[in-house]
């Protein structure tokens, strides 16, 4: 009796599986198939990027985007690239940075084009890989740009006359956040470990694995510092608020985690994030007073790099290497300046719209054309 029941259960399972297999037999019809490596699926910026590719680019070009889930480690990234290669993806766009070297090596092994859209390679790694045939290039804020973005934020508050701040280091030792944090300290006119030189500061921050408030010296006091997100974060932000800083400066993700708490506490805050609806509400109705951000369509040029490469016109710099284009941040300090970027980059008319992108897609497009456009935006 039981054996029969078991056999029946198994047969049902196999039949179900067969049905699943039948539903799966649909292949992509698009000319271009791009795999996107993603480490963050929940952040405001990540969602904006995805929406732009899926809702605008895919509508206007014959392209299909395939996304990974949130990738956790280098093995996950490599396996995802291999699966994309197997699925016939001609190119990979990377928004995940556990092991960029292995990503490029793997793409090279499978003959798949590769481009970086977030968290660019540092100089040493870029030098190593810039000559690889399938490395199509990178577009995004470089480390020096990250430092400058933090510095501009610090300078803004210094100019406002603040004398004490609390700071959120986001996910230090993530390099992007380290450079921004060092910039903030420099912008405030303070020193870290006795220096305000970018490289000396970041070297110390990497060694400390955090910002040590005891090493910050200068006119503007750092009353509290926190980083990461975990069980004790709420207590730490509460402890920071209790120290009554005149401003709360964040190098990322504060608008995701702390908007409500800082609004309630009435502490003006700043962040480096993106121009999204939620951040618009925070700057118009809340205590967000400074937002350095990228707009969602800022990843348009990366698509153009890939499209050109797949179409047989890979963009190379003067020396024949993969290009590296730096993008700056846009800064909003009130609702009006926020809307200037947010509204302009929304819906059917993003900043990198089809007409703009078409000017850098094609057989005749050169490195100079690309550079001129990207640096103008």
């Amino acid at each position: 009796m039981k054996t029969r029941k078991m056999t029946k259960t198994m047969l049902t399972g196999i039949a179900l599986a067969g049905a699943l297999a039948a539903t799966a037999m649909t292949a992509s019809a698009a000319d271009l198939k791009i795999g996107v490596l993603v480490a963050d699926v929940s952040g405001e910026e990540a969602q904006g990027f995805r929406s732009y590719y899926e809702n605008y680019i895919a509508e206007n070009y014959d392209v299909e985007f395939v996304y990974t889930d949130a990738l956790e480690d280098a093995a996950g990234e490599k396996a995802a690239i291999e699966k994309f290669a197997s699925q016939g993806c001609q190119a990979i766009i990377s928004l995940s940075s556990s092991d960029r070297a292995t990503q490029i090596d793997t793409c090279d092994e499978y003959g798949v084009y590769y481009a970086i859209a977030s968290g660019v390679l540092d100089d040493e790694l870029f030098e190593t890989y810039k000559g690889y045939e399938y490395f199509a290039g990178q577009v995004g804020p470089g480390n020096a740009t990250e430092f400058e973005a933090g510095k501009a934020m610090g300078e803004y508050f210094k100019a406002q006359g603040v004398t004490s701040v609390a700071m959120y280091g986001a996910f230090i030792p993530n390099p992007m956040h380290v450079f921004r944090a060092a910039g903030v300290i420099a912008g405030l006119g303070d020193t870290y470990g006795g220096t305000n030189d970018m490289y000396e500061m970041i070297g110390q921050i990497f060694a400390d694995q955090k910002i040590d408030p005891a090493k910050v010296e200068g006119d503007v006091a750092l009353t509290a510092y926190l980083q990461g997100y975990g069980d004790t974060t709420t207590d730490e932000i509460n402890a920071a608020i209790q120290k009554e800083p005149e401003a709360f400066l964040s190098v990322g993700m504060a608008t995701t985690f702390f908007t409500q708490m800082l609004n309630e506490a009435g502490i003006p805050f700043a962040d480096i994030d993106s121009f999204t609806q939620a951040n618009g509400t925070a700057i118009k109705e809340g205590q967000l007073v400074y937002l350095a951000g990228k707009y969602s369509s800022s990843i348009g040029p990366v698509f153009a790099l890939i499209k050109n490469a797949v179409d047989g016109n890979p963009i190379r710099d003067e020396e024949g290497n993969a290009p590296s284009f730096s993008q700056g941040y846009l800064v909003a300090t009130d609702g009006e300046s926020f809307d200037e970027y947010y509204v302009a980059d929304n819906g059917d008319a993003p900043i990198y719209d089809k007409e703009t992108l078409d000017s850098i897609i094609g057989a005749d497009v050169t490195y100079e054309d690309f550079k001129a456009l990207v640096e103008s935006k």
Partner: protein
């Protein structure tokens, strides 16, 4: 954990044999289905199979070693963190000495030492081994993260030069390694007195003690075998991607549970423990997840994949344990 004295009427010898074969049958069906879907979609099966193997082999070796711990009726939740820590120590050693043998020594030494430390702590101070492994999970993860982020600097991770392990990143080598480890485990588990005694301890610790079997002695053996599995897993992780980040191998710890149960072994250990369970279950689990990923494409597919995978997991375990129902609710 189980109340074997209140077993209901079993399904007979044929039924039991069929149940024993079900994990293999499930693996075969999943494999065939996977191949059919990949082919049907026009994807390249060769690349996909290589990827599946690479994903499964680390889980399979770590879980196969862990079977010795599970057989005793205990479990170790820190194996993922141990794998990370062993790989971290391996990278540090290689970068300091540029010697592959020394790197291997560091990896296996660290893995076995971590495993034995949990066991020794539990034995010496009479605390449940599970609790020591929870503590080890926190400590090893935190220490590894500290080392990796401090040394990794702007790269966010540490690694060894790719050419060191590139020649080993091929299926024949990995299959040979997996086979050698499996045969070693099979020998110890099935063909030695130690293996039989471990099952006895897992089945009934009190009776085992009354017959003069030392729990500590076999716990040390079990944790040593698990340590070897962890070392091998750490090494294979480095062979696949020669870098380590703070999240490397983070998913292995809990997947081991699923793999072992999927392979037809009770989590309570004892006489029904099977050394092949992790191998069969590990690859079945990886295949199932990949099949679902292929079938359920779309925005929220990863959530749906996990739901269907979990339902399938419970269904398989339910079917494979049909002959072992008890009147009392199992604990």
């Amino acid at each position: 954990m189980e109340t074997g004295t209140l077993k209901k009427k079993s399904g007979g010898t044929a039924g039991r044999h069929l149940v024993d074969l079900l994990p293999f049958l499930a693996l075969a069906v999943l494999f065939a289905l996977f191949c059919a879907i990949v082919k049907g979609k026009g994807y390249r099966l060769d690349i996909y199979l290589k990827t599946i193997f690479n994903q499964g082999v680390v889980l399979a070796v770590v879980a196969t070693g862990a079977i010795f711990i599970y057989t005793l009726g205990s479990f170790d939740i820190s194996l993922g963190a141990s794998t990370l820590f062993a790989a971290t120590m391996g990278v540090l050693t290689y970068n300091a000495t540029e010697s592959l043998p020394l790197m291997l020594l560091a990896i296996f030494g660290t893995a076995i030492a971590c495993s034995l430390f949990s066991s020794a702590l539990a034995s010496a101070f009479h605390i449940p081994a599970f609790v020591t492994t929870v503590a080890m999970l926190s400590v090893l993860s935190a220490v590894s993260a500290q080392i990796i982020t401090t040394r990794g600097g702007s790269l966010g991770g540490i690694g060894i030069p790719k050419p060191v392990v590139k020649p080993l990143d091929n299926p024949p080598f990995k299959i040979a390694l997996l086979a050698a480890f499996f045969l070693l485990c099979f020998f110890v588990f099935q063909l030695t007195k130690a293996g039989r005694r471990q099952k006895f301890i897992g089945g009934n610790l009190v009776c085992a003690r009354l017959t003069g079997i030392s729990y500590n002695k076999y716990a040390i053996l079990a944790f040593t075998m698990a340590g070897i599995g962890v070392g091998l897993g750490a090494f294979l992780t480095l062979v696949y991607t020669p870098s380590v980040t703070a999240t490397t191998a983070s998913g292995i710890g809990m997947s081991i549970f699923v793999a072992i149960v999927f392979g037809g072994m009770p989590i309570s250990g004892g006489a029904r423990s099977r050394i092949h369970a992790a191998l069969v279950g590990g690859f079945s689990y990886i295949l199932l997840n990949n099949i679902l990923e292929l079938v359920l494409e779309g925005g929220s597919a990863y959530g749906l994949t996990q739901i269907v995978s979990a339902v399938f997991f419970l269904a398989v375990v339910y079917v494979t344990s049909m002959n072992y129902r008890t009147a009392l609710l199992p604990r």
